[in-house]
């Protein structure tokens, strides 16, 4: 049986560990900096351009990090959640306490996810607050909870991929680089295919991108928001900012993509962790 106490202790530990990591803190700071810069730029744009968008300014702040930054952060958290524990030797500490491997795995997984979720929650409310303050009353804020939830769901893909690579390699830097290569490789491939499909006017090419890990992860939050705020024209303006977002109005295929990658990555992580030795810290 799963011990709630053990899982709760590990969740608290993973949050503290993430907060103690400088690289992560730099990335978090850059997310908030991005928010500030976006709104600063918007205030400098011609009023005629900004006025129709002013009521939806919160959307930009909520979606901007979900294009890339939140995935980079998720893969970093994922890769270090597993690999750094072996590298630092703290896996030995935890796995010689009275906890099962299942509790350790679930605790670490939940801890990393809680940390990412809290961050998404924080910057989303920050974006909503700053938009209301700078651009006045915001429209469609009822979509904010589903926007936050879909961002959390989309962060799962690279968090779990990072965890899987971290568990396989058990070297945090190498795992972060490799998981980062998967993300940027997929991102670039998707952009390239989108461009080629547009130039050749060949929609069949767009079928291919559906199998890439970034497809669901990058699109889910924006699709949820644009479906929710009922402003398609506005949606296409925003989409021009994020060229790789593409256009899809269906949530289900995106969720299937996310679920498939997340399940596969978490299964690999569990199988590798459950049936192999706890690697000793390199002395």
């Amino acid at each position: 049986m799963l011990s709630g106490r053990a899982v709760a202790i590990l969740v608290a530990y993973q949050i503290r560990r993430s907060l103690a990591r400088k690289r992560l803190m730099i990335l978090i700071a850059s997310i908030f900096l991005l928010e500030v810069v976006i709104y600063l730029v918007l205030t400098r744009l011609p009023p005629a351009f900004v006025r129709p968008l002013a009521g939806y300014a919160w959307v930009i702040g909520v979606l901007a990090p979900s294009t890339a930054l939140i995935h980079v952060l998720s893969l970093m958290v994922g890769a270090t959640t597993s690999a750094e524990e072996y590298e630092a030797g703290t896996a030995d500490y935890w796995l010689t306490r009275p906890i099962t491997r299942r509790e350790y795995y679930i605790g670490n997984l939940a801890g990393g996810l809680t940390f990412i979720s809290l961050l998404i929650l924080l910057y989303s409310f920050f974006a909503a607050a700053i938009s209301s303050y700078v651009f006045g009353p915001q429209t469609g804020l009822t979509t904010l909870p589903s926007a936050i939830l879909s961002t959390i769901a989309s962060a799962l893909v690279f968090f779990s991929l990072g965890m899987a690579v971290g568990e396989l390699l058990r070297r945090s830097m190498l795992s972060t680089i490799l998981a980062g290569l998967i993300f940027f490789g997929s991102f670039i491939a998707e952009t390239y295919i989108n461009i080629v499909a547009t130039i050749n006017n060949d929609p069949s090419l767009l079928e291919t991108v559906q199998y890439l890990p970034t497809w669901g992860a990058v699109r889910l939050a924006s699709t949820t928001v644009f479906n929710g705020i009922d402003a398609p024209a506005l949606g296409s303006i925003f989409l021009q900012f994020f060229t790789t977002l593409g256009r899809t109005s269906e949530i289900l295929p995106l969720l299937v993509n996310i679920t498939a990658y997340t399940t596969a990555a978490l299964t690999i992580t569990w199988v590798r962790f459950r049936y192999t030795d706890v690697t000793r810290r390199a002395l």
Binding site: Y13, T96, R97, P98, I99, Y275, D277, V278, R280, R281
Partner: protein, 310 residues
Amino acid sequence: MSEIVAVQGLEKVYGEGVRVGPISLTVKRGEVYGLVGPNGSGKTTTIRAMLGLLKPTAGRVNVLGYDPFENPKTIHLHVGYSQEIPVFPPFYTARQLLTVTCRLKGFSRQETKQEINRLLDLTGLVNHADRKVGNFSKGMIQRLSIGLAMVGDPEMLVLDEPMLGVDPVGRVQIRDILRDLKKDGKTVIFSSHELYEVERLADRVGMVYMGRTVLENAVTELLNSRGGLKVVAELRKPLGPETLERLKNLGGIDEVRADGLYVTMMMNGVDLRDEVAKILANSGSGLLELKTHTPTLEEVFIKVVENALR
């Protein structure tokens, strides 16, 4: 005494082609067991297999009646462990780490508080309880690690190189803790390549060399039977050939060496000092002194290793 740990033919093949084993040992309830051997001999592999951190390639490991790899939680409820080089999350304080272990062992808040006070007192860390462990010295880390291993007064303690990197004062403290545990009848397994520590503290010893068990026995028995006694006699006059021959013919003496006024004898397994003293006293050479040198565990180990290599 019943068996608490049984390792039978443990073998481990590491990815780089390094092979450890076969290692076999048994630890009985209530004994202090010293696992000795040079660096890289397989001590830590054995300990990690006993704690379920490592899956043996071959052989069987049984701790408290369980397979540790399959039942780590049960094992860690009853076994306290201190790592060779303890590593803790550096942002935790000693008190927080002790709290975590107490909570994981199922203690209530009140029990946790009492247990922490007991262990901080025992390990001499009362004044450092609220300092982050990232700022601890090696000795403090080692003492904290032993304190953590002792949370909940476990049935058995496994200490991997508990004296490593500890200053002389810290060593005395750790030695005292181990002596108290021995007095309380706890089962303690500790590994070390510092054999004088093992000789001082252990009831039984298992020797591993180049990845395999070369010997397992009670320390006192080992010192008597394996090391033998080295006896040096100082005489007024050199010993005659006849007396020398009589000494050589005494069953149980491996070697007799005369060097001027000194005669050195190696007794193997039997104490023949009475007989030797009588022969020398009646030899007419004038026995001045008979010095006995008891072998150290280190000497025994070297002898055993030499035999194993032959």
